[in-house]
């Protein structure tokens, strides 16, 4: 059964330059216990998609279009009578069944409260237990996420923790309410390589132990390869390809996915050849292209690509791709 279902989601922002079309018709499904990676460059709309789903858009967002079903319940902004009602319901969901992990842990932790307070309160709220029991659970959680001498550190303030340790605290807070869904927005981007490895190992072991679903937003294909079961590739506010990890890494169909894979280096490879970069710059979503968002940088671009949005082709129950090349190939076979 799918836990989260998103259909034709649109998000727009009003800026003083004009209207930015950040998310332009995104649809996907997430199953129970699954890890979905959403990969894209900055400005591809990957974070805004998640913020839209969770009702966390900034003030200048225009009313959202599209349908979001979470755990069998319609939680799209459209379906609520008033904004107040929607916000009230989303607050409930965000605290109880969905946890979020952000890139910069400091935006999430309150700098003037002890780590303990910030951990114990959500536990007491969710589990309806006494303070003593909550304290014990907090210590257990801190140990679970690998914080040494948890009894001592629970009385410290966020500034006494390093970046990697803060990220662990956030993960502990996220786990406190046994969420059905964890949304992680670039959780390791701000960390150093060796610390990133620690946090990735932690997330990996959580994935095996709990049955929470995880949505992992990242630009790092290495992180995706390590953790994700399914991968969605976003470009220009749209999902251009979605599939299982092996379908994306070994059988990718979209030229953007292929380009992305060929322009990253594999340290195992010794060749001195030039990298294969994707030329140009991603489109500015202030004026998104009419056709395929990738046409201007695509080496296979055809006339139709500039004028019409590509149709989605299904290769397997899990693998879909939106590219005109597939139709062109079919046409030439006839």
């Amino acid at each position: 059964m799918s836990l989260l279902k998103v259909e034709d989601l649109h998000t727009e922002f009003k800026t003083d330059q004009g209207i930015v079309h950040a998310v332009r018709g995104v649809s996907f499904e997430l199953n129970q216990g699954e890890v979905l990676g959403i990969v894209g460059e900055s400005g591809s709309g990957k974070s805004q998609t998640m913020y839209t789903i969770m009702g966390l858009l900034s003030e200048n967002a225009l009313p959202v279009k599209g349908k979001v079903t979470f755990d069998g319940k319609d939680i799209s902004a459209e379906s609520f009578k008033s904004k107040k009602e929607y916000n009230k319901m989303m607050n409930e969901i965000r605290g109880n069944t969905v946890a979020m992990i952000f890139q910069d842990p400091m935006t999430f932790l309150n700098p003037v409260l002890k780590i303990g307070t910030q951990l114990i309160e959500p536990i007491m709220n969710h589990k309806k237990v006494s303070k003593k029991e909550a304290y014990d659970m907090a210590i257990k959680l801190m140990k679970q996420v690998g914080i040494p001498s948890a009894e001592k550190r629970i009385n410290q303030y966020p500034f006494e923790f390093s970046g990697g340790m803060r990220q662990r605290i956030i993960i502990a807070i996220a786990l406190a309410c046994n969420p059905k869904l964890i949304i992680a927005d670039e959780p390791t981007t701000a960390l150093d390589v060796t610390i990133q490895a620690q946090v990735l190992e932690l997330i990996n072991s959580l994935k095996e132990e709990s049955d929470s679903s995880i949505i992992m937003i990242t630009h790092d294909l290495g992180v995706v390869a390590k953790l994700c079961d399914r991968v969605a590739i976003m470009y220009g506010g749209k999902i251009v390809e979605i599939g299982t990890d092996r379908e994306i890494f070994y059988e990718s169909k979209h030229p953007y996915t292929q380009g992305l894979l060929s322009c990253i280096t594999n340290p195992e490879d010794d060749s001195d050849e030039d990298l294969q970069p994707i030329p140009g710059t991603p489109p500015d979503l202030l004026k998104p292209p009419v056709g395929c968002p990738f046409y201007a940088r695509c080496q296979h671009a055809m006339k139709i690509c500039k004028e019409q949005l590509p149709e989605t082709t299904t290769f397997s129950p899990t693998h879909q791709c939106a590219c005109w090349l597939i139709q062109a190939k079919e046409a030439s076979h006839e």
């Binding site: 340790m165 390590k226 890494f249 992305l260 280096t265």
Partner: protein, 324 residues
Amino acid sequence: MSETILKVDHLKTYFDVTKGVFAKKQIVKAVDDVSFEVYKNETFGLVGESGCGKSTLGRTIVKLYEPTDGSIEFEGKDISKIKGKELKAYRKDMQMIFQDPYASLNPRMTVGEIIKEPMKIFNIYDTDEEREARVRELLDIVSLKPDHIRRYPAEFSGGQRQRIGIARALAVNPKFIVCDEPISALDASIQAQVINLLKHIQKEMGISYIFIAHDLGMVKHISDRIGVMYLGHIVECGPSDVVYHTPLHPYTQALLSAIPIPDPDVAKAKQRIVLEGEIPSPINTPAGCPFASRCPRATERCRKETPKPVQLGERSVACFLYEK
């Protein structure tokens, strides 16, 4: 290998971070006794995690910081203490590309003004028309359009801005460029563009680079030789292929093992060396090997003495495990 262009010898850059007049003296040893050489036409990669002193080292070499001790020889001349006219002449040969494309361009100047400024300062051309022509040429080299010349940095994307920064560095025809994490703020598809551009420029103009980064994959790709830094020290230094395939220092081993491999079958099967603990604070570092507190193979001796670099063929390693 060809001749040496830059020789850094026992370089130290310390910062006094003592707060208040009566507080205990606090010294950050950002760069502590570092020696290495860069050859002509070569790229020397510097890798390490944040706070290891790699950026300070780069900035000391371009003379943004004064070295505390040691020498920096550029084309056989010690430049560690030069000032005034000599320094200005050195700046013409030694340029820098910065990390943050959003902060390294003055937001109040147009692209043309930014690239023209160094030419004006060094009086490279007589007339403004010649300078303007050269700006267009440089924009073409970094694949930007000539009509971008009157635009402001804020109108460009991150990758485009980084290319403007490269054009500015090239404006004075330098012999050496220190690239201070030029790709870490960019998206993957854009990183490859910048790396290819830098390689292309090196081939065409014969410029030597120091390439600083924390992305080991990219550093290996662009560098001929690399140095691995930890807490102000170079712990291992050698040709990049050799260091990557047979890392000797325990830190290099852990660092390489931590790279996420973009291949699900390999990545999901791979056992990593996951280091315990965090990077210690660089303030008033204790004696001994800088890595001793996290090293899985540390001994008593490592906590007391600082290992000297041991030369093993083409590379050097600062670790007691390899002492003869």
